[in-house]
């Protein structure tokens, strides 16, 4: 029987690779995952922030961020973002 992989173990495997983070609001982030903690606060590098507006996506580039885990709704390993 295959051993079970816990959700946070899956995220741990994503460290060093790209990840797509979707927030509860109309906001998304794509970046390289450097690390995270038990609250899924995340350290991301070379980040693109996407904010959905009526005219499309507004993007912002950020070198390194600590993203508060409180408003994260979904993580997509290897994801390339909404565009």
């Amino acid at each position: 029987m295959a051993s079970q992989l816990l959700p946070l173990e899956l995220i741990d495997k994503c460290i060093g690779s790209k990840i797509w983070v979707l927030m509860k609001s109309e906001r998304e982030f794509v970046g390289t995952l450097s690390g995270f903690d038990d609250y899924v606060n995340m350290v991301l590098e070379n980040v693109t922030e996407f904010e959905r507006t009526t005219e499309g996506y507004a993007t912002t580039q950020l070198k390194q961020i600590l993203l508060n885990g409180n408003n994260i709704s979904m993580l997509v390993p290897g994801g390339d973002g909404p565009q």
Binding site: I15, S34, G35, L62
Partner: protein, 80 residues
């Protein structure tokens, strides 16, 4: 798996590295605060010095010292 090539950088490591440096703090409301990170805690409560408040990309206010309650923080970014 324990000895992966890339170094892990947990939120605590990141915060330890940026204390005393210029940072950009974005709130859930979209308002941005730029300043020097004086200190912070596990709630992401933040004390900033030489703070500049930006709304819609425009400078709105300046504060010598500012305290930001952690529940409003969307992210903390190391300023370039």
């Amino acid at each position: 798996m324990a000895d992966t090539v890339q170094p892990k950088k947990t939120p605590s490591d990141f915060l330890g590295a940026i204390i005393g440096h210029p940072v950009l703090v974005k709130l859930n409301s979209g308002i941005i605060y730029k300043g020097v990170l004086a200190c912070l805690d596990g709630y992401m409560n933040i004390a900033l010095e030489q703070t500049e408040e930006y709304a819609n990309g425009q400078l709105k206010n300046k504060y010598g010292d500012a305290f930001i309650r952690g529940n409003n923080v969307l992210y903390i970014s190391a300023a370039e």
